[in-house]
Symmetry: none
Subunit: 227 residues, 2 copies
DNA sequence: GGGGACCTGTCAGAGAACCGTCAGAGCGGC
DNA sequence: GCCGCTCTGACGGTTCTCTGACAGGTCCCC
């Protein structure tokens, strides 16, 4: 999950930020002064930092400069009441990626956070990080699947089907959902197609395809992947 | 040199931007409407775009969306009089990287441009460090490729294609991504072009072109380079 | 517990999709 | 004009996908 570090000494504002960011699905960490902020940024490895400039102890500029001097490249968004152009220029020049002045709109801030993370995300694929179940590892970026660390050759359809199952991991995926997602059909074409491909996946990925441990049949409903 | 495309219909503002950006050492290209902006962005391959929203013809939102839909990833900074939060959110969500409202300070704008370019610039340095896979060494600085220490003559397209594959090393590069990055096409052009050039690369770089070890085909998806 | 209805597993082959290859045309530089 | 680079369309081989039939399993009702 994407981790965001908020360095902000105003408790109300910090509370609001935490709430809104968590609603968006981020993992949020809040600290109240510059020294703590620097420490947390060093050990926590956040994916993004929202940094106030006016802080007790070490001020935001110094935190910013320290992090950049250490070669840390995570995006940093400055959030401050200092709206003078000179301040903005200074912050951006010191290595901040964005500069938002109080008072600000929460939606705008969230959109800016999203834009920064989008820009920082690996160029290859936003499709997803590698996932694992049993002895099987699925790497979306390279469309590779490893079993016991060794590559298993999957056909395109098999791979897409596996990813679709993985996305619903733990829940039932109906044949219709799978057809829609993997095949792009909208019709309720009932056929043995899905079953055939599931069987093939089992043959390639399960230790005992006849008694699958991960790719399970849910009678009358569909299939379910268990880790 | 870093190229910046300015899409702005107000002549005074466009003039001012060009001046200031050129003083900073950028190579500036100015067009006055959305249609031209889109065209210039496609063929010119600017490193950054400054985009007005209110434009004659095609508006800025549509230009932005069209570019992102084609998979183009250059940073885009929206510069507009529309300061409503909803506008900002919309622009950023559509794939803009920054949003500045008029009236704005030139110094701030320049600092934001610099911040965006800093974020986009490749980590090492401009040209990129030499990279290696198998018996092949790629030296971007001199556009040279060595195999077993001996130079291999690559045509310009072949070299660019190789670099594009190398940038995504280990991940799948779709034909569309490659067309966009190497050819600057608006994709949708389905042809054997990419395949032909990949075949040529294999012939020149693989020990056994019929059974490639590094430049791999990922069926239904694209190509992948493995070290 | 037995029988039947229904559901899923399995298989093999026909057809389609996809990619590698090649030859040639267009284009621009020397 | 010659030559090298680039792109395109056609062809063919290979791999993948889907289908239908049958077999086996499971569940429910009696």
């Amino acid at each position: 999950m994407t981790r965001i570090l908020v360095v902000e000494d105003n408790p109300d504002l910090a509370y609001g930020l935490r709430n809104n960011l968590e609603i968006e699905g981020y993992d949020v960490d809040v600290v109240e002064d510059g020294t703590q902020g620097l420490a947390r940024a060093r050990v926590g490895g956040p994916d993004l930092i929202i940094l106030d400039l006016m802080l007790p102890g070490m001020d935001g500029y110094r935190v910013l400069r320290a992090l950049r001097d250490e070669g840390r490249r995570m995006p940093i968004l400055i959030l401050t009441a200092r709206g003078e152009e000179a301040d903005k220029v200074r912050g951006l020049r010191l290595g901040a990626d964005d500069y938002v002045t109080k008072p600000f709109g929460v939606l705008e801030l969230l959109a800016r956070v999203e834009a920064l993370l989008r820009r920082t995300a690996p160029p290859g694929d936003g499709a997803g990080a590698p996932e694992q179940f049993g002895a099987v590892e699925v790497i979306p970026a390279s469309r590779t699947v490893l079993r016991d660390g060794r590559p298993v050759p999957l056909t395109p359809k098999e791979f897409d089907l596996l990813v679709a199952l993985l996305r619903r991991c733990g829940a039932v995926a109906t044949r219709m959902e799978l057809l829609t997602e993997v095949w792009g059909y909208s019709a309720a074409v009932l056929s043995r197609t899905v079953d055939t491909h599931v069987a093939e996946l089992r043959r390639k990925l399960e230790a005992d395809p006849a008694a699958p441990q991960h790719i399970l049949t849910v009678r009358k409903a569909g299939y379910r992947l268990e880790k």
